[in-house]
Amino acid sequence: MKKVIVKEQGAGEKVVRHARAFGVSLSESVYPHTATVFYPRERKKMPPNLRGYLMFKPEKCISCWQCAFICPANAIQMKEARNGRYYPNVDYGKCIFCHFCVDSCSGGALYSTKIHDVAYRDMDEMLTLTEEMIEQPEIVREDKKSVEYVIDRDDLHLKRRREQDTLFVEPTPPVEIPMVSQCIDRASCIGCRVCEQVCEHNAISSIMERNVLRMKIDTERCTGCGLCVKECSMQILRLVRK
């Protein structure tokens, strides 16, 4: 066992250290490094990739359900919209703001904002419907300044600017890799037609051919969402590059 031995200080060194403590307190009382942000009156400037309140662009959604599948808190549910497509609803009572949904979204339909202060009256209100995620929410802003943390001279400083930070960031469009579903082993198909039922874009159709049901994938209509690949009972469907 090693014993921690504190070096014995001489009287002179002790006096110097006490004096330095007083000096530091004097300099701090004149020019403090206080790092407090007076929140409602001023707002900390957040980075553009902050994991905040979620927004949604329905025209980019391919209804691949990836957000709902990946959500570790089970906060995203897919609900059928009027046009027959399925869009995500976020329950902020469960959401842990991990933003796996944003990362997994292949079309860039879900995106984040800098809003981190949302208040609800009850638990039911926390279930945010798709329609509420499309429009920018109304925000009461009391802040006059935006505050930034700056590190210089190996100390933390606050830099205040007389401006309001924009809370809505235009998302960077994801690199789109066009994918398409393909059957790799037609002989093993049992003709259960699950892929046809699950496809939301009517890209899969079935034809009766000599008493054998043959599935046909329309590559033009297929968005490469991968739902059929996930659901295929024989696991003979694969996503390939277009």
Partner: protein, 371 residues
């Protein structure tokens, strides 16, 4: 009979008029006031030196104003040093300056709870009784030439009253009849014995140095400040004052984290409010004593316009600086354990105070012309 009464009144008026605080800048206003039938008498009575010293400044009114703002200054300053903000939200554009006013209003209207086991009469009396030893020393502390009672025994009287504080704190703890209060009281008693002897010996060293214990004389005749003549006595006095006010690092008796609030854990409402300010009163008195003994009292460049108030201004300035230093200790040092506090008191502090006495004797015998 009438003549006797008239003579007594005349004698009183001449006594009052001969002992006035002279303020050149206010002279025209005072002249205007003295033309009024009652105003002249009120003004001259208010400016009567003992009255002015005891009730206005450096006495009761100044103390009240300091009590109203000093906790705020302390909290704000400590907050700044610790990278916090301190009181802020009440009148936030002024930095929460009326925080203590708001607190005192709350203390005033809060229910005073006397719990079942407390010794009821003593429990209710002690917060008020504690004010006797904390207010009386103000009569003897001079600010320049303004003093309520000038006596050659000023230091002895102040020390006697200062040494009475802990007895009342012990009374508080005993009357509370609670385990936390008991532990806090016992700790207070231990600390009392730890600092008191060194503290008194340090003051005795200064009395030996100056050859008198008249505070007015000491304050006005310091060619070289006492802190430079006998720095060791000043250090002992300062540490003793820190122990006496039981602030960090010697907050052993109150120890918020261990004993809630020590001797005054059971108090609520106005009782707690009174005890809360006693510590600041103690600090004011001890800082005032330190200013007079070590920092030249009211001496400083004379501001002609203010006349005799000039000394008062310097005295208050120095006192506030000493008080601030005393309270800033709490952000620099962590709290000592009881045994560490006792060791500091009985070993280093006591031996330092004895060394201070030796230095004082050496200076007063050897370099007789210095003081």
């Amino acid at each position: 009979m009438e003549e006797v009464i008239k003579e007594i009144i005349n004698a009183l008026i001449t006594a009052i008029m001969s002992n006035q605080v002279k303020i050149p800048v206010l002279e025209p206003v005072l002249k205007l006031m003295s033309q009024l039938p009652v105003g002249g008498f009120i003004v001259s009575f208010a400016l009567w030196k003992p009255f002015f010293a005891a009730l206005i400044s450096p006495g009761f009114a100044t103390l009240g104003i300091l009590l109203l703002f000093f906790p705020w200054i302390e909290r704000k300053l400590c907050g700044r040093i610790q990278w916090r903000v301190g009181p802020h939200e009440i009148v936030w554009w002024l930095g929460g300056i009326i925080q203590l006013l708001a607190d005192s209003v709350r203390f005033l209207f809060q229910e005073v709870i006397v719990h079942k086991d407390a010794h009821r009469p003593y429990f209710l009396q002690f917060p008020f009784l504690t004010f006797i030893p904390t207010l009386l020393p103000l009569l003897f502390i001079p600010a320049g030439s303004i003093v309520a009672i000038q006596t050659p025994y000023a230091i002895q009287i102040i020390l006697a009253l200062v040494c009475l504080f802990p007895l009342f704190i012990l009374g508080l703890g005993w009357a509370s009849n609670s385990r936390f209060a008991f532990i806090g009281t016992v700790r207070e008693a231990f600390m009392y014995f730890a600092y008191e002897i060194a503290f008194v010996v340090a003051v005795i060293a200064m009395v030996i140095l100056y050859g008198t214990s008249d505070l007015v004389e000491i304050g006005n005749n310091q060619a070289i400040w006492g802190i430079f003549l006998n720095p060791i006595a000043a250090i002992v006095f300062f540490i003793g004052a820190a122990m006496a006010t039981s602030r960090l690092p010697f907050e052993i008796a109150e120890a918020d984290q261990e004993l809630a609030a020590g001797p005054h854990v059971e108090y609520s409402g106005i009782g707690f409010g009174l005890i809360y300010v006693i510590c600041y009163e103690k600090a004011y008195i001890l800082s005032g004593l330190m200013t007079v003994l070590f920092l030249g009292g009211g001496s400083g460049p004379v501001i002609g316009m203010l006349g005799e108030l000039s000394g008062l201004v310097w005295f208050l300035l120095k006192t506030i600086i000493v008080m601030t230093t005393l309270f800033v200790l709490r952000v620099i040092y962590p709290r000592y354990r009881l045994d560490q506090g006792l060791r500091i008191g009985w070993s280093s502090l006591l031996s330092l105070s004895l060394i201070a006495v030796v230095i004082s004797i050496a200076i007063s015998v050897g370099g007789g012309g210095v003081v």
